[in-house]
Symmetry: C2
Subunit: 278 residues, 2 copies
């Protein structure tokens, strides 16, 4: 069993960390500066005060953080003198993953590219960790007994991130598109008529769509902004039209302030917020 | 029963015209310059050589044409000296519909805004004609006994077009998004892995998606380009992020050349075409 560093776990990262603890690994995390709520949820991990303390004690680091923070976290790990295997499991473009990988390689760290699809893992068949890179199989082995399904793609850095981007482009891109449609329909006075037309095809679609739009705005939209910007780079670099994702980033930016709402907002509140470029 | 002019019927327009003929109306169309295939499909209508001939014989005109042509057709009708009720049933922005309406009103033509959702009408419950405008109810009455479901929204020009835009933004916008995703996945070498991940959620989704992408490229993408540009104006004017639709227009522009393919292309051919900005 291994001692593994976990950076900087939110809901998904903590769930991934718990799957490691549950199969017998020891998981360290850096607790300084994290909220009381995060500390409470991380109680099954061993807290160390600083990144320097963490890198001294582990030879594997797993990074699960919002996409906009991934490059800074990686540079901090290099700066702290880490030597070992580093998994970036974040929703970043393959281009960014390769940039991080090059820096890691230059610092003699073994870099593994990763991407997580699905819910925070609690049972098999609901969450997948896709991996690519020369040492991907070693990372895969860590999770073998747990509920997170692990899929090693190949040795090429960027493949796992490419897959994650394409998968999330559909789920989060479609939600953003539907949000924009409800926003435009409301602004033009045809939301009710649109929902009636939708219901002709699927009676549940209007309510499901409103719920999906509201759920994604609440406590999620703020971090989807960065993920959509990663897709802009991903699709643009592949030579494919990428304006879907700059528009989706705008949608999530306009609803990012629901991050701190105690309860899920009504769809009507989210739709109203979409009209305004704040 | 009425004598109605029908401009410039493709597959949808002809089906709409046949519903009028089937309930007893006489439908005139301008046959000059149309293909032999179109003439054959229009055999249940009365052909007149020119627009001038048509406007002399009818007091109702129904226009079903590609969105980029709608304004030119309307201006030609005004130029030909039409006096009567004019229905624009095209997939255009409410802004364009209002512009056309203002020109019609200035020329003493009664303008009705319309939008068609669904398949070419052959049975009830599969196609809807949404109408708005002061004289919408008179147009609705023409279709009362046929298979096309007619829905009068209100008296405000632009409402029917707004509804059509919002409905098609989901169907055609999502298809464009999925096309882009398959194109990016193929370019990055993860199409198979993506389809396997999709299949974990819905085993039929990969094949359905490939079929949807291929079906929309064949003989449809060329006219979706203009429709996506109408959505750019519609959403932009409503103050809602609209980059989804400029990207979707790009997707359809890259596959527009499948217009003349005798058979539906393979999804792989469409995906390949998406990589290149032609």
């Amino acid at each position: 069993m291994n001692t593994i560093g976990l950076l900087h776990p939110g809901a998904m990262g903590q769930a991934v960390g718990r799957t490691l603890v549950n199969v017998g690994h020891r998981v360290l995390w850096v607790s300084d500066g994290r909220s009381a709520e995060t500390r409470q949820r991380a109680e099954s991990f061993t807290a160390v005060p600083s990144l320097s303390d963490l890198v001294e004690q582990v030879n594997i680091i797993v990074c699960v953080c919002p996409p906009h923070a991934a490059e800074d976290v990686a540079e901090a790990v290099i700066g702290a003198g880490f030597a070992g295997v580093y998994l970036d499991a974040n929703a970043i473009s393959p281009q960014k993953s390769r940039r991080i990988g090059e820096k890691m390689t230059a610092a003699a760290v073994d870099y593994v590219d990763g991407g997580i699809v699905g819910l925070p893992p609690t049972q098999r068949g609901t969450s997948w960790l896709h991996l690519s890179g020369p040492r991907a199989a070693e990372i895969a082995a860590l999770f073998a007994a747990g509920p997170l399904e692990v899929n090693v793609l190949d040795k090429q850095i960027g493949r796992a991130s490419a897959l994650k981007m394409c998968f999330a482009a559909n789920t989060k891109g479609t939600t953003a598109l539907l949000s924009a449609i409800l926003g435009a329909a409301a602004e033009m006075g045809v939301q009710e008529a649109l929902e009636e037309q939708w219901a002709q095809y699927d009676p549940e679609f209007p309510e499901k769509t409103r719920e999906r739009v509201a759920r994604n705005a609440h406590q999620k939209a703020w971090r989807f902004v960065g993920e959509m910007e990663e897709m802009v780079e991903t699709f643009g670099s592949a030579g494919i039209p990428n304006g879907f994702f700059s528009a989706a980033a705008d949608v999530y930016r306009r609803t990012a302030h629901f991050k701190n709402a105690p309860d899920q907002p009504d769809a009507a509140e989210v739709i109203e917020a979409l009209k305004n470029d704040q």
